[in-house]
Amino acid sequence: MKPKVLLIIPAFNEEKSLISTLSVVSNSGYDYVVINDGSTDSTEEILNNGNYNHISLISNLGIGGAVQTGYKYAYENSYDIAIQFDADGQHDISFVPDLIKPIVNQKANLAIGSCFIDKKFSGKRSSIVRSFGIKFLSGIIFLLSHKHIYDPTSGFRAADRKIIELFAEDYPQEYPEPVSNYELLRSKHFKIKEVPVKMNRRTGGKSSIHSWKSAYAAINVVISILILSLGRKKYD
């Protein structure tokens, strides 16, 4: 049986890239839901005019709360697989089948699209600060769990039904990817697999992680991960 797949597309002030991303997404034939996280630009207008399936949050929640809304939607509408997909054109829809494959074959509960596994895909994606941050986080996660995640911050992830249910109930609000990846990594009940993907340069908008905020981001994530490793296993 073909699994029901949903793309969760969080959007905060993405007017520049939204139309091109959404036309690619709707041509692909996958179900999708855009979560408009209280955008102040014309994002809402674009969504309404194009009649794109979307949920408009009545107030800004931040990336974690927006994506979690998508997981709640996926859970309520009984999707088998939910994929986080960026509105800024960073993610390539042609890699969705690769991302779904390990879940369909029951090799993984969560598949992370990583541009660091395959050398030919890495390169232009990130700033020096960001790639250092990713290496640093990856190192800390390896120290604590003895397992490798090459791209713990990747926002291109596919989750199976079990994880959809989990995330609908409980999802980190700030810097959700590294924190939830680590949580799942620690649990015996879930398997994570990294899948090589190509990331594009964003066509518009800004990353939710700005360079001057990266110190705060690093501290926040490290504290979250250290607290998690202090015994409490959330997902067991």
């Binding site: 979307h54 949920i55 408009s56 949050l57 009545i58 107030s59 929640l61 709360g65 979690q68 809304t69 709640k72 939607y73 309520e76 609000q173």
Partner: protein, 116 residues
């Protein structure tokens, strides 16, 4: 009664009354008022009977009773602030949930309207 004792008693009574006013106006819940009501009450007691505090602070090794008094006050204020932050975190989580559920409901509603 010394002048200092009198001043402190008056300040404590004034503060206590202020808290009562807000309680009466319903802009402060009883649950949240208790910690704040105890503070001026304790100050009033200390103002009227300063000797036990002075003795106790000397016994603990403080150079002056006032130092001991300040330490206690800062400690209590720290605790109140800390628990306030905890309650903010709880409320944030509840608000998040509300925003998400309401937004999903609104979307469902709009979809149903279109179908009709």
């Amino acid at each position: 009664m010394t002048r200092l004792q009198l001043e402190m008693s008056l300040a404590a009574i004034f503060t206590f009354a202020l808290i009562l006013i807000f309680l009466k106006k319903n802009s402060l819940s009883v649950k949240n008022s208790i910690a704040w009501l105890l503070l001026p009450l304790a100050c009033l007691l200390i103002a009227i009977f300063p000797d036990p505090l002075a003795k106790f602070s000397g016994w603990l090794g403080f150079q002056a009773p006032s130092n001991f008094f300040f330490v206690i006050l800062i400690g209590i204020l720290f605790l109140i602030c800390f628990f306030l932050t905890i309650s903010i975190s709880h409320q944030q989580a509840k608000i998040n949930k509300l925003i998400q559920e309401l937004s999903i409901l609104k979307q469902k509603d709009a979809k149903n309207d279109k179908k009709k």
